[in-house]
């Protein structure tokens, strides 16, 4: 593929518009990225894109950012990654900067205050809804260890103020340990990774 200015512009502009018009975070933007880069531009084939999405979800940080870094890297190496991350970050950066100036001017207006208070009750409900869905999924697996980890983490974070990073490091190590054990330590990983993909 010829990589002229037009190609780089297309790469930047694709991620910029996807980021600017996608409400609802990573779970919405990732399918749209797949559509744009696999179906419309035909730059990446379907299977490879699925792998990139899986990698994006395995790394820390916002999934939309991670996936766009991967697409940029795949298309044009490290410079491509910088271009796509810039494209993804700029729309929220601009929007929120503008809004935060308005916010500081309007936050003491009684009507705005009432609107926010009502919406905050709504946000709390949205988060409760998400948590119920996620916890139900873990409980439904009927495995003891994840449920125990979930309960202990909740108690540790809510009632004992244990540092979040410590909780994450311990549970991540447990995950690494169980992977090692189920794999039998022989280094054959194809079977495992395929099983996880199908979930």
């Amino acid at each position: 593929m010829k990589k002229g200015a037009r190609f780089y512009w297309n790469l930047f502009f694709s991620t910029f518009t996807l980021s600017a018009f996608t409400f609802g975070g990573g779970y919405v933007i990732v399918p749209l990225m797949q559509k744009r880069f696999v179906k419309e531009l035909k730059w990446i084939d379907e299977d490879e894109m699925l792998d990139l999405v899986a990698i994006g979800q395995s790394a820390p940080g916002p999934i939309a950012i991670n996936t766009s870094i991967l697409v940029g890297y795949r298309m044009a190496g490290v410079p491509g990654a910088f271009l796509t991350v810039l494209g993804t970050v700029l729309p929220p950066l601009i929007t929120i900067t503008v809004i935060s100036f308005f916010y500081m001017a309007f936050r003491d207006n009684p009507i705005i205050r009432a609107l926010f208070r009502g919406m905050q009750a709504g946000v709390a409900a949205v988060i409760a809804d998400v948590v119920i869905n996620m916890a139900a999924k873990i409980i439904k697996n009927k495995r003891v260890l994840p449920v125990v980890v979930m309960l202990l983490s909740f108690i540790a974070a809510s009632f004992f103020d244990v540092n979040i990073i410590i909780i994450l490091v311990i549970s991540g190590s447990l995950g690494a340990y169980t992977t090692l054990r189920t794999r039998g330590g022989d280094g054959v990983k194809q079977h495992d990774s395929r099983k996880e993909r199908s979930e």
């Binding site: 779970y27 979800q57 916002p62 900067t97 936050r107 909780i167 690494a176």
Partner: protein, 188 residues
């Protein structure tokens, strides 16, 4: 100095938020409210609310908002850069490994182990958010007399509608906002 502090705090948020979406929430809360006192719990709730209605990941929105508030536009750039730097480094390493070995089962095993903890942490920060909403009269005492019954009613009604009819969350929040204007503006 402030810029460096902003960069570093959101670097930690970016580095330890596994699982996308709300996974960054407890980390942002810890950095922004508890460790650095950049926002009050109410301001944090406001940015969360704004975040739901604007495009972009919560972590990026929060870093931009906090950065702007603490140190203007340079602050928003420093915080946002901090938030995406760990992603850039780790994702590029994983991508290089992927193209070389085509297998990431260890990484996926770790992610699987993290998931229950991440859910628990989101639940824990969800609970403190709920307490902020229900006792928002400016008092930190959690006595029954400070309970905001209107907010409790709105929370229960919104949760019921979300579970039962599964509407777009933005619509549910806007409806709760309009109800809030009616209740707090005209009745109370």
């Amino acid at each position: 100095m402030t810029l460096l502090r902003l960069f570093w705090s959101f670097f930690l948020v970016g580095l330890f938020s596994f699982g996308g979406g709300y996974a960054a929430l407890p980390l942002i809360q810890e950095q922004v409210i508890e460790i650095n006192s950049w926002l009050t719990p109410t301001e944090f709730m406001d940015i969360l609310t704004i975040s739901q209605m604007t495009p972009g990941p919560i972590a990026i929105n929060a870093s931009t908002f906090v950065g702007t508030k603490v140190a203007g536009i340079p602050g928003s750039i420093a915080a946002t850069a901090g938030c995406v730097t760990p992603s850039c480094i780790i994702v590029l390493i994983l991508a290089a490994l992927y193209y070389r070995f085509k297998g990431l089962s260890m990484v996926q095993g770790i992610i699987k182990g993290l998931r229950p903890a991440v859910v628990a942490l989101i639940a824990s920060s969800g609970m403190s958010i709920l307490l902020t909403v229900l006792f928002a009269n400016g008092s930190s005492a959690l006595g029954l007399s400070n309970l905001d019954l209107a907010a409790l009613g709105l929370f229960i009604a919104s949760l019921f509608v979300l579970r039962k009819f599964k509407p777009d969350p933005i619509l549910a929040m806007l409806a709760a906002g309009v109800a809030g204007v009616l209740i707090y503006g005209f009745i109370l």
